[in-house]
Subunit: 168 residues, 2 copies
């Protein structure tokens, strides 16, 4: 098991170009199951997932996110949202769930890119409006997903300068 | 590739009991490479990794973290730290790197648990002191790692109530 899993971690890249092929319901289900297998502080799971495949709504999200133009061509968007009142670790927990989802994307041969929303209020407000997100729920990101129309090399970005052994 | 990767995501569980076997240098390297393959906002990579395998320092970390008693038996601790002045997305980025590292742990047949530090200042200060972390660097978590001495079932925690289709 080990080598293939490690290779998938290196193979996951930010994919911004997609074919017009839709994402199957089975694949959507797998992505959500992977996301919710993430750890969370005290296992509170302070997350929600908004699944969007409607063309008009995808275009509306592309309109409002400053780096979201690839959503015009994406078959799917998942907005990962957190519930701050449920946990002080909501950003960590939702980010771990997001990374699980992105690795499942790579494992399924799909492509995706993580578009940050929180903590930039100028992004949070319009995303909240387009998706109808309640005030106590915070959109952490938009994940733009599709069948890839670009290829990137697998890679780590290992940097020894970021490693400290036996203490800082 | 896909099915094994997905199964590893489900197989990753919080493991708190370990044998006394040390973690090989090769495995430590793989864990760090996996962590640094994570995405980060604008690819800034605002992270640092402190690798601890010294018994005295592991015990000192166990002493100061309120839920860190398993560190007395762990062969390895990785403290994932962020640099807030480098990116407003440092918590997200370091959390994605953490999840990559934890999935690599599972892929290698090791076991680990994520111990939250930031944003609880009563945890940040003593961890900073034990590890000698500078003031502009924030310890996000401690990862307690070892060869597993307990088994847990693979699982998702899929919850349909957390899924919203076509908008909230």
């Amino acid at each position: 098991m080990s080598e293939e899993m490690i290779q998938t971690i290196f193979a996951r890249r930010s994919i911004r170009k997609y074919t017009s092929e839709p994402i199957s319901e089975e694949n959507v289900q797998t992505l959500l199951e992977a996301a919710m297998a993430a750890p969370s502080g005290s296992n509170i799971k302070p997350w929600h997932f908004i699944v969007v495949s409607d063309r008009e709504m995808l275009d509306a999200l592309a309109d409002v996110h400053p780096h979201g133009k690839m959503l015009y061509d994406a078959a799917l968007c998942v907005a990962v949202c957190g519930v701050p009142e449920e946990s002080r670790y909501w950003v960590q927990d939702c980010s771990a769930a997001t990374e699980n989802l992105l690795l499942a994307v790579a494992a399924l041969g799909l492509g995706a890119v993580w578009l940050g929303v929180h903590p930039k209020e100028e992004r949070v407000a319009p995303v909240r409006r387009v998706l109808g997100i309640p005030e106590n729920i915070v959109p952490l990101n938009l994940l733009s997903i599709g069948h890839p129309a670009e290829e990137k090399e697998a890679r780590t970005q290992y940097d020894e300068a970021r490693v400290h052994r036996g203490g800082w």
